[in-house]
């Protein structure tokens, strides 16, 4: 994939210190287009669409919102802690959208494995297929999310 003007603008805003302290790339030095390509391919290989992953992240995360920071058991499978922080953060892509600085920590009660992601993370995965660069504060590989959130491939019609 080529770095379009839109991707160039987004990548600029994803740098550390622009809209978030550590940025969205972590240790990944590839350009945004290459990261998107690789993550899209990973989803295809795993048989789960990135929209499906984001939908589960949202469903399970939001189910824990009633705890106001205390752990909430969701579906008997996960312990979810929702931390709603002051303020909103915009999406780095050049389109409207600001997201509450909410952080979800989801622990799989069976395996003990956990993932941590933000409201903006959910949006970026759902809308842009972007899981962030490895090492970024809210980065989770598609395979990790699929494991922890126990996401099965959607049945084809």
């Amino acid at each position: 994939m080529k770095m379009t003007p839109q991707l160039l603008k987004a990548a600029e805003k994803m740098k550390a210190g622009d809209i978030s302290r550590d940025g969205f790339f972590g240790r990944d030095e590839r350009d945004l287009a290459a990261i998107l390509d690789e993550q899209h391919a990973a989803c295809l290989r795993l048989g789960v669409g990135y929209e499906q992953i984001a939908r589960e992240m949202r469903r399970i995360g939001h189910a824990g919102a009633g705890g106001f920071g205390a752990p909430v058991e969701v579906d008997g499978k996960w312990s979810v802690v929702v931390d709603e922080n002051r303020g909103k953060i915009p999406c780095p892509w050049p389109h409207p959208g600001v997201y509450q600085k909410t952080v979800y920590t989801v622990e799989n009660l069976r395996t003990g494995q956990s993932v941590r992601y933000s409201e903006l993370t959910i949006h970026m995965i759902f809308t842009h297929g972007f899981f962030q660069g490895e090492g970024a504060p809210f980065y989770n590989a598609p395979a990790t999310l699929i494991d922890v959130l126990e996401i099965a491939p959607e049945a084809e019609d």
Binding site: K2, T4, P5, K15, A16, G17, D18, I19, S20, R21, D22, G23, A65, G66, G67, F68, G69, A70, P71, V82, D83, E84, N85, R86, G87, K88, P90, H95, P96, G97, V98, Q100, K101, V103, S118, P137, F138
Partner: protein
């Protein structure tokens, strides 16, 4: 197929180059001269150098339009009404303006470039907002993720505000943060303290400002704040007041309660403070002192998940459950809420279910 892609690439490239040339020409060649900004039908008239953003020009003249992103067009807060001279609404603005706002000539002041004389309308209270230079007098660690910052005002040396309002703290460039930004925080100091302001600031993961406050800011540092902003303050009333907060939401109530203590108030006030475990509680000694000073004040901390070592004897459960136990006794009271949007929405639902009219509920959402 390759030819089509190459053609698209060439056209896109030419377009991008032209855009850059136009931007550079506008920045370095265009001369708009002096322009006049008429504010609120002649209430104030500014003469500014054309070519700058409306937001930047207003700030340079000491008129602080609320903005959280420092003029990058990414927060949508800096709306003003432009009656004349604003030019067409830009694509960077449309996403932040409702059709009704666009119809009413509302614009994002950070995106409007001053090219000719302008007529604008802003809320009159914005004239009262000033920028203050101050020095950090004290930083106190309140919990594992909350600090209290007290700032001695230097220039101007005193401030007028209503207890419960908020100010914007300017974050300078630091580390990878290459542009200054500002963020809003509730004042935790009372209005009778005119030469100092105080904030209670919780560390937000990845937060540019809170990281600066928690890891970089030191006592003795010079800082800039602007304000006051907001309409969250204790209404003058004899009705019993129910205060509800979580986390750094305690801030405005600390100021309000100190105000009431100074006035020797006999108003009935109950302050419910929700936390997960004991390590999230703070200012308990201050609240105990206030309970002694205010005959009808009660502080009710509630833990939703007390740790075993807490040996907690107080209220347990979600703050909504604790408030809900008051039942319909709250019908004649007022409520003041400060905290996360989820907590506030849930509390409003409980309060209205128990008979409190919406008009008696005042809140400051962390949003």
């Amino acid at each position: 197929m390759i030819e089509v892609l190459v053609s698209m690439g060439v056209i896109g490239g030419i377009g991008a180059i032209l855009a850059v040339v136009l931007e550079l020409a506008d920045r370095y060649i265009a001369n708009y001269g002096e322009c006049k900004i008429d504010i609120n039908d002649g209430t104030r008239t500014l003469t500014v150098e054309g070519g700058g953003s409306l937001l930047g020009s207003l700030v340079a003249e000491g008129i602080f339009i609320p903005s959280a992103c420092g003029g990058r067009g990414s927060c949508g807060y800096c709306k003003v009404k432009i009656a004349e001279g604003g030019g067409p609404v830009l694509p960077t603005e449309t996403s932040w303006l409702t059709p009704q706002e666009q119809k009413n000539d509302m614009r994002l002041s950070c995106q409007v470039k001053i090219r000719e004389d302008l007529k604008i309308h802003i809320p009159p209270e914005l004239f009262l907002i000033k920028e203050y230079r101050g020095r950090v007098a004290r930083i106190t660690t309140l919990t594992h993720d909350i600090k209290e910052v007290r700032i001695k005002l230097l220039e101007p040396a005193a401030i007028e505000f209503q207890t419960g309002q908020y100010m914007q703290l300017t974050v300078p460039e630091y580390g990878d943060v290459e542009e200054s930004v500002y963020r809003a925080y509730s004042l935790s100091s009372p209005s009778f303290e005119k030469d100092e302001v105080e904030f209670i600031i919780r560390l937000v993961p990845e937060g540019i400002c809170t990281t600066w406050v928690h890891q970089f800011l030191k006592e003795g540092d010079e800082v800039t704040v602007n304000g006051p902003h907001g309409e969250f303050f204790l209404r003058d009333s004899d009705k019993p007041a129910i205060m509800i907060a979580g986390g750094s939401g305690l801030a405005p109530f600390k100021g309000m309660l100190r105000d009431l203590a100074r006035q020797h108030s006999t108003r009935q006030v109950t302050f419910f403070f929700g936390a997960v475990s004991q390590r999230d509680l703070y200012h308990r000694e201050l609240m105990a002192e206030l309970e002694k000073e205010l005959p009808n004040f009660k502080f009710v901390p509630a833990l939703s998940k007390p740790a075993e070592e807490d040996r907690w004897q107080g209220e347990t459960g979600l703050i909504t459950d604790v408030v809900g136990r008051l039942g319909e006794n709250i019908a004649g009271s007022q409520a003041y809420l400060c905290g996360s949007p989820g907590m506030i929405d849930a509390c409003i639902a409980v309060l209205t279910k128990n008979g409190m009219p919406q008009a008696e509920i005042f809140y400051d959402k962390f949003s």
